[in-house]
């Protein structure tokens, strides 16, 4: 069996977000690029499952839709332990475009299990995994916080409002994963970094897709009024403000 992990190349989550003068593009000066945090968890869990599978899972691949400047992040995924990588050479303009490109690769490469992080920390669409599933007509399970693979049986847990459901499913399928899938993402070791240099990254050109949305401009949050300080002795005053002024009590 083969696992595919979809990964985004995103600004480090501590980045101070700024845009160009037209407010259309992120100002990438000084930005550190990383694997999207949820995709990093997905990759870690995919590798753990492969190791536990006793050879049933032959390969873990990663895919990124992005331009050449995403390659250092893809190499990091290979250094962490992915066996090979795909890159669709295009600007990842929106979730529909990204999902359509990944679908094209899946149609020829036939993956049994596809893992996607629940959202990307840049566009917060929470859409690529589900869109991909529909493009390739795979069942999908969302908000997955546990993934076990034992004796060839797959057991997922998904978060629902107020609890968890245990789901069984057969391959092929897409799991859209979140926190809990593994605790700490793996960090590349020196040996992994050396090996990653020779692992293949297959680059392909994008296919034409429909365009359903157009991104207009970004806005920054309006800076809010200074925090109103209340004396630590006077908690009655705080309650009075929350009731009378903020009207939340």
């Amino acid at each position: 069996m083969k696992i595919l992990v979809c990964m985004g190349n995103v600004p480090d989550t501590t980045t101070k977000i700024k845009f160009d003068s037209e407010m259309k593009k992120l100002d990438t000066n000084g930005v550190q690029w990383v694997i999207n945090p949820w995709d990093e968890l997905a990759l870690t869990r995919a590798l753990e499952i492969k190791e536990q599978s006793g050879g049933k899972i032959e390969k873990v691949s990663v895919i990124n839709v992005g331009q050449a400047d995403a390659e250092p992040t893809i190499r990091k995924a290979l250094a962490i332990g992915a066996d090979d990588a795909f890159r669709v050479d295009a600007n990842p303009k929106d979730a529909y475009f990204i999902a359509a490109q990944i679908a094209e690769i899946v149609k020829t490469e036939k993956f049994d299990i596809i893992l996607c992080g629940i959202e990307s920390s840049d566009f917060n669409d929470a859409a690529v995994g589900s869109m991909l599933s529909e493009f390739i007509d795979y069942p999908s399970v969302s908000a997955v916080s546990s993934f076990e693979f034992k004796d060839g049986n797959i057991c997922l847990k998904r978060d629902i409002d107020g609890g968890k459901e245990t789901i069984s499913i057969s391959t092929p399928f897409v799991a859209i994963v979140q926190k809990g899938i593994c605790i700490n993402p793996r960090i590349p070791a020196m040996r992994g970094i050396m090996m990653a240099r020779t692992k293949p990254i297959k680059v392909s050109v994008p296919v034409a897709t429909d365009s359903l949305i157009e991104a207009l401009t970004f806005e920054l949050p309006v800076s809010k009024a200074a925090c109103k300080m209340v004396n630590a002795e006077d908690t009655d005053k705080l309650i009075e403000l929350l009731h009378g002024e903020a009207k939340v009590l």
């Binding site: 920390s121 499913i169 949050p221």
Partner: protein
């Protein structure tokens, strides 16, 4: 043309965020005069369904069938596509909830309908439909325009006022032609009972590293009780195992948008703010006057959590009894 709203229920009770989605659709309807149709899937009684009419749903379609209790994304997508076609809908509204996020993007592909996800406000513009959505974990917003004929929206909880617009109740049963043969099978459901759901709570109290250990949560729990609030924590707290991962709010944990968020002993790292930036009012209690949380908070108290909490609990009690 019509507007369809997907109404969620799990235990026979309609979710508050689904009522907000109906209210949102009703706002749009006032602008373009398209009727609002609510769709409910799963077991629910007509009394409960009639609440949807209170917020403006002039027709309520109910697939009241045991077989459809499993929220299978693939089959729900097919079923909703079927109803969209039958009702000639061009706008489909979901909550940006776990279930909404699971289905809306699939439906977007199936119907070739542009998706505006993580939407935070009423449409910026109606022709063409333009929406303000969250991006960069709340550190920015993005305006997007729908260029396809149909449009799908996932609206964030607590982003639309629950305004009543009562219309006569009109409930229709519906038998899907899509088969109920699901690829997924629910083996077990584990519901946390007796707790206020974090993602639905209008008040949340949250503790951070400042509470120092797993043994010190009594005052915070008591504050939550007197406020009728949900309990949350910051990431270091769940990583240390002081509290369950279920309570972690932040960028990689739960993302919440209560009316009131009370952060106790939380410094306010940017990843934590990513999970709470949608809160209407933030109160910070921290002994470090330079803690970053104060630059996001509306109200602040500089002080030790263990001194302030007992007094705050008394103040809340006094207020509640007044």
């Amino acid at each position: 043309m019509s507007i369809i709203v997907f109404s969620e229920n799990r235990t026979g009770k309609i979710k508050k965020h689904s009522l907000e989605a109906v209210a949102y659709a009703t706002y749009i309807s006032k602008n373009n005069s398209k009727p609002v149709i609510a769709v409910s899937i799963g077991n629910i009684n007509n009394d409960e369904l009639s609440v949807l009419a209170k917020y403006g749903a002039s027709k309520i379609i109910s697939v009241n069938d045991n077989k459809w209790q499993n929220h299978d994304s693939q089959s729900y997508t097919k079923l909703l596509a079927e109803i969209v076609e039958k009702e000639n809908a061009d706008t489909i509204i979901f909550s940006h909830s776990n279930l909404g996020k699971a289905i809306a993007p699939r439906l977007s592909v199936r119907l070739k309908a542009g998706l505006a996800s993580n939407v935070l406000a009423l449409p910026t513009w109606y022709s063409p439909m333009t929406f303000k959505r969250k991006s960069y974990n709340g550190n920015a917003f993005q305006q997007i325009k729908i260029t396809s004929a149909k449009c799908i929206v996932t609206i964030n909880p607590n982003s639309c006022d629950l305004v009543e617009n009562p219309v006569p109740v009109n409930i229709t049963g519906y038998t899907p032609t899509t088969s109920a043969n699901f690829a997924t099978k629910v083996e077990n459901v584990d519901l946390i009972t007796g707790k206020i759901l974090l993602t639905e709570a209008s008040v949340v109290v949250s503790g951070g590293r400042g509470l120092k250990s797993s043994d010190n949560w009594k005052p915070l729990e008591e504050l939550a009780e007197v406020l009728g609030a949900g309990i949350a924590c910051s990431r270091p707290v769940s990583d240390e195992g002081w509290r369950s991962h279920e309570e972690h709010v932040g960028q990689t944990g739960k993302i919440i948008a209560p009316d009131l968020y009370v952060a106790v002993g939380i410094s306010g790292a940017i990843q934590h703010i990513g999970g709470i930036s949608g809160s209407k009012v933030i109160v910070a209690i921290n002994k470090d006057k330079d803690a970053p949380i104060f630059s996001y908070a509306n109200y602040g108290i500089i002080g030790d959590a263990f001194d302030v909490l007992p007094r705050l609990i008394e103040s809340v009690k006094k207020f509640k009894n007044a």
